[in-house]
Each structure stands twice: as structure tokens, then as C-alpha cells.
Amino acid sequence: MLNEERVALMTRMASYEAGEGKRNMQIGRFFRSDYVSIQVLKAFISATISFCMVFAIYVYYNLETFMENLYQIDLVAFAKDVLTKYAWFAGSYLVIAYLVCTFKYARARKNLHLYFNNLKKLGQMYRK
């Protein structure tokens, strides 16, 4: 005999597992600190690559100026300036990434908590 309540619960859970649940389960395998650290590290790599690309375009754009004034440019001051800008860019991006990842982790844990509650409920239905 089909148990409609059980079928409805299983359908809802299967739909969750196939969509958002898959991502949430990957997040839920980590402790909060581990997940956020990994994501912030990835964000750091992304920020570094992005900054390098923009800097490369900037250098290529101003290549003639650089070549003409190569010996007049204070390279240490220039490098300091570039690194300061990089630190500002990467720092602000990492703060945003940290906030986004913390929010995502909290939401995933909450959804997984509901999912496991449903799983328990389903187990109890089978035992009846």
C-alpha cells in the first residue's frame, strides 16, 4: 500500500538532493572554519590573477611611456604603489568573499539540518 505522506516527503527530499542539496552537502562536509578558509584562499588566488591581468594590460597600454622613462622612474616607489593598490584590492575582495562564504555556509547548514530532520522522519515512517 502506498503511503502518500511518505511518497511526498521522499519526492521533496529527492528534488532537494538533485538540486541545491548536492551543493549544500559538499559544503556541509567541512567545518565552518575549513570551508571559509578554503574559499578565502581561492578568492585570494582569483584576486591575484585578476590584478595581474589588469596590471599586464596597464603596462602594455603604457608601454611606450615606460620604455621612454625607464631610467627616470623610481622603480621602488612604483612597486610600492602597485603593491599598495594590490593590497587594497585583494583585501577588500577577501573581506567580501569571507562574508559571502560565511553566509553561504550558514544557509547550507540550516538547509541540511532540515533535510536530515526529514530523513529521520522518513526513517520513523518506515519503522511504523
Partner: protein
Amino acid sequence: MTKLLEIREQIKFFYSKAEWIITPVAKLLAAFISLNVINSRMGYMPRLDNFGIVMIVALMCAFLPTGAILLFCSVFCLLHLYSLSLEVAVLGMVVFLLIYLLYLRFAPGESLVVMGTTILCAWKIPYLVPIVMGLVGGPASAISVGCGVLAYAFLDVVTDNAANISTMADEETIVRLKLVVDALLANKQMLILILVFAITTIVVYVIRRLPVDHAWTIAIIAGVIFNMVLLLVADLFYELVEFSFVRVFLVSLLALVIGMVLEFFRFQLDYGHTERVQFEDDEYYYYVKAVPKMMVPQSSRTIKRINRTSYVPEAEEEEDVRDYRPRSRRGGEYDEAEEYEEFHEEFSRRRSQEIDRELGFGFDTMSSFGEDPDRPPVRRRGGSAEADDPGDFEELF
């Protein structure tokens, strides 16, 4: 209204049944249209502007994740740009990579929004995007819309300067790059559109989440007005290129219609039957406002079992569209005699089924003449041992 709600339920039912084919077809169409728009607007590599290639790529997109559409569109754009100039292609790759690394990595589901905004910008109707995204998306959609406008602005700058770029000598690599970068940085219209769309998206999102009656309708109308006013003010101060108030007005009307359709499918509430309740527990006092959704009774399918222990073939499945509510609640004229007759008929039908079952008539009687090898396994009363065994679930806890 009831008829419309019935149609909505039918559409939902049809979608849930045919979702396996509708989704790939929608992806195929999205990819096909996007690639054709790219080919028609850029078209610097004639080999790509081929129906066969576009169709094959669109077919691949139909069965790949949604992000694949954006990936293939980016590849097509880069190949066209490469045909025009290597430097422009590198610059294009940097723009696309920046969008991916800094934003889409966190929100992969928003790739369609980025691509959709770019395509709608190419069709000169981007004004409906912030309204729609404010309704169906979140505040992060404001960034997606901005990325779409940025991608379009870059491609637009390249297509506008394509004649100059192609006539430059091979040695003038830096000049080509400078031409595109300068044009992109001087593009005030892009910045204004990004700002206006971001503000409109957030305004629509905030209003539709407000706990007020008809929040969606207010959000749609407010978003349309806000969008038009901001664009008019921007045009007044900065004289936007290719800005036509008539077009903005018409597209805003279209956005209004699309918004209403979205509201009809996602947020149709019956405010006439709002209930307000108050209760408390040990820690809180609750003020709850419950607004019922507008629904029509859906026709339900029931399986009539002639013999519970037997295999029930498809032919026995029949649609049950009867109204089971008491006649006094169905509306119309209430006739006690008619209800009694209906009840008596139903009782007789069920009784005859029970008698049949007790006498062993029905499909199960066939099994006594030998098992049919093509028939699925018979599920006996109480279910099989495997199905009811909770052992698999024990492991999960």
C-alpha cells in the same frame, strides 16, 4: 479569474510532465539565439557564421549545464575578436575572465542573467531586465545585470571601432589596444546603465519582500516608474547615446506585462481571506498574518484497484475529477434527494467491487493459469520484505 487559475494549473501540470523535454529545448533555443546574435553582430570569422556549427553547439548546450551556454558564447566572441585583432581578443579574454573570477565563481547560477542582459542590450531592450531580476532574483542579481551591461559595452565598443582596428598596420598593436580601452573607459553610458539597473533591481527586490498587501504589484509598478525616471534624469544630465524615450516607455510596458505574468505564476494571493492570529509560547509572543494562495481544486488521479494483491495495468488508471466536497459547500442549488442518489450509486459501486474481490474475480485470477513472463512482479498485500526493511535507513543515523 477562475478560468485563468485553471489554465495556470494546467500549464504547471504540463510543465511537470514534460519538463524532461522542455528544459533541453529551452536551453537549445537560448544557445541558438545567442550564438546567432553574436554571429550577426560581430561576424569577423565567417567560418563560425554557419548554421551547422551553430546548431551542433546549441545541441551540445541543450544537454550540458546552463553555464555551458555562456562558455560557448564567450568562445564564439573571442574567436570573432581574434579574427579582428589579437590584442582585442586578449582584452576580451581579460574582461570575460574578470567577470568569471570575481563574480560568477561565487554565483554560477547567474550566468544566464549575464548572457541574457548582453543579448537584450544588443536588441536595445535591456530596460526590462532589472524589473524581472528584482522579482525572480536576489540583490546579487544587480551585479549580474551590471556584468551583462559591461560585456555588451565592450563588444559594442569593438564593433563600433572594428573598421579602424582592421585598417591599422600590424605593428600598431598598442594603438589598437589603446583605442578600445580608451573608448571603454570613456563610455559614460555604460556606467550610468549599470548604476540605474543596479538601483532598480534592488528597489524592486526590497519592495517585493515588504510585508504589505500586493507587494509584487507595487514592486513592479514602482520599478517601472523608477527605471524610467532614472533613465530620463541620466539622459537630461549626460545625454545618453541612442536613447529614445518612446522605446524606454514601450519596453517598460513590456516589463510591466512580464512582471504581471510572473506575479500570476509565482505570487497569486487571496488577500480577501487574510487571517491574523496571535499566540505565545514561553519566550515569544507571535503576531502572524497568513494570506492563502489563490487555488482552484485540481483534478486528482486515483488508481482504482480491482484486486489489491494483483498487478494493475495502465488501462485501469482513470482520472478522478469528481468534486468530493459536500454538496452544501459546492455552490449552486443544493438538492438533498440528488445527493442521496449520488451517495447510493457510489455505495453500490464500491460494494460490487468488494464482492468481486472476495470472489476472486479481477486480474489476479489470471495468475492461476500460469505466470506471464512479460508481467512486472506482483506486489502482495503488505508490501515486499525488501521495501519495508528499514535496514538501509538505519545506516544513515
